[in-house]
Symmetry: C2
Subunit: 335 residues, 2 copies
């Protein structure tokens, strides 16, 4: 694990256009795990942009997010401008920083953040060895595989981390639509920090909003580092509306499960079997992964491939006429 060169991520349409200059526009971007059905927020007042975000609105977000994610209290949760920017801050919050163990393969930024914070980073596939590290990271459900580690196992791991002053980070970026149990309610005893992402489930990745849920002492330290006004006015406006909207959440969970079933059916009709994922993205292992990526790319459909694992693909959910474009592109693949 080196800190050199930026990690490649989904969502880069400029790169896709450079790779497939003949592809039809507009591109259908299925390279991320972001809900294509964005939360229908009410119009933003001009002062959400012009004024400094009010402390009162930030406190309201804290209350609503603690409720929505099941944190024991608002003091157990802190908001930041995206989960991403929290990763090195969280990694640095552990006193002894010798070894970080990351349940892998997974979202590559966890390893990079741990490396930056000074750890020797081990990417491990056996959750049984995570407890040997000072910092253990589990993305649950995992991105891209969809692997779920049971709550009891994670609670046992958190207890072991707590005993030695370490930290278990559980990244629940895709928990809203998964059958994985959240650990947000279990942070009071210590040794555990849960990350939640606003933008993925609410289809609002551009506003940059994420949360860390942990013991209030840990939360207070993170908050000191983030400082005042770390969440933007537009993010506060949208999230304070969305997180209070239980109805939308329930309906969207159901809709996304149906969308995922529909996507699986499309893929399997083409003989591409789905190996895992969450309702927001499907995980594929296929010997012809590169050909599938290229064939869809030529039709202006961008999916996610992984440089370091050439058989892996991740496909997000289409929205609107994306379904037809994807179906047409799939029908024209020759495997």
């Amino acid at each position: 694990m080196s800190a050199g060169g930026p990690i490649q991520h989904g969502g880069n349409l400029a790169r896709a256009r450079a790779l497939f200059p003949q592809a039809p526009e507009p591109w259908i971007d299925l390279s991320t795990g972001i809900n294509p059905h964005s939360y229908p927020y009410s119009p933003l007042p001009a002062n959400a942009f012009s004024r400094l975000p009010e402390p009162e609105a930030a406190e309201r977000l804290r209350l609503l997010a603690a409720r929505a994610y099941g944190a024991p209290s608002p003091a157990h949760l802190v908001a930041g401008p995206g989960t991403q920017i929290l990763l090195p801050i969280v990694a640095r919050s552990v006193r002894s920083r010798s070894v970080a163990a990351i349940l892998s393969p997974t979202y590559a930024e966890h390893a990079r953040a741990a490396h930056l914070a000074g750890y020797e980073v081990r990417e491990v596939s056996d959750p049984g060895v995570l407890a040997e590290a000072d910092l253990a990271v589990v993305v649950n459900p995992n991105n891209p595989t969809g692997r779920i580690i049971p709550r009891t196992e994670l609670l046992g791991l958190a207890a072991r981390m707590r005993m030695k002053g370490g930290l278990l980070v559980v990244d629940e970026a895709f928990q809203d639509v998964s059958s994985a149990d959240s650990l947000a309610d279990a942070v009071e005893s210590g040794g555990l920090l849960v990350l939640r992402s606003f933008g993925k489930f609410y289809g609002m990745a551009g506003v940059r909003l994420g949360f860390a849920i942990s013991h209030p002492d840990v939360v207070a330290r993170l908050e000191e580092t983030l400082g005042p006004w770390s969440v933007s006015g537009p993010a506060l406006h949208i999230a304070n509306e969305a997180l209070a909207d239980r109805n939308w959440k329930r309906q969207m969970q159901e809709r996304l499960r149906q969308d995922a079933d529909r996507l699986d059916a499309l893929l399997e009709a083409k003989g591409i079997s789905v190996a895992g994922g969450t309702p927001l993205f499907r995980y594929i292992q296929h010997p012809e992964a590169q050909s599938i990526f290229n064939a869809l790319g030529r039709h202006g459909v961008l999916i996610r491939k992984f440089h370091e694992r050439p058989m892996d693909l991740r496909i997000g959910l289409p929205g609107g006429d994306g379904w037809e474009r994807l179906q047409y592109a799939l029908e024209n693949i020759r495997l």
Copy 2:
């Protein structure tokens, strides 16, 4: 300097309402130094909120900001979600972190960030002693006093910091409308980091956008810590438009200088003399500062007072009918 309890800042209307429950609505908030004439950005596309910010748009921002602020090249500049969140990251970027010296009185978050990064913090009023520290911080022009340290003096200080592996941070949050010379063009030799704020001059404090300008090696390390997508979609859209708009900038500089003259005249007609400031805020030292604060507060006009310096006040520029409200409130003060 303790890291306990949050620092009080301007812009907190909820606190103002609690202090003056009988005050007329809407409040006129003059407690910050944010331009009341916000940049007239074009409508935001829905995908500025829904999609992950595109790397291409972030690169464009880098280019435009480097040009607008006079950085030697885009590699000398990095954008983050507000200057505030950059402060502890910048403070921690110095190898030896024994002593930080902050030219004071000034924006209190610099001392807090240095304290968090592990320094012993000295708040000094003599710029001549700044070079003794590992980290020296100068807000130029200063907030709230408006004090300006000449470019040659700062360049000399940067050279001394460079010689010993230290860092001079020059916070140019209010440079856009000041007669202070920017140091953004002088970062190549090292030992110097310049901070720029987007939200103040462009009247867009809610979007959270700030910049650090320094040697490319320092910039690369800051960028690694910030990670991908640190600037939101709305911020990218608005700043990429605003920073390219030289015309608006020129006209606004002139308008703000006129507004500041008008404000001075109003204050001085009441016998309140202006001791300093920048065109975006005026600095007052007055034995009856608390009475002035209260009298304006009762009229629903919020200005900034400073708990630790009871004679100091800072008054930002009104916009729209804020002028009449301020004038009326001033006329009714009995000093």
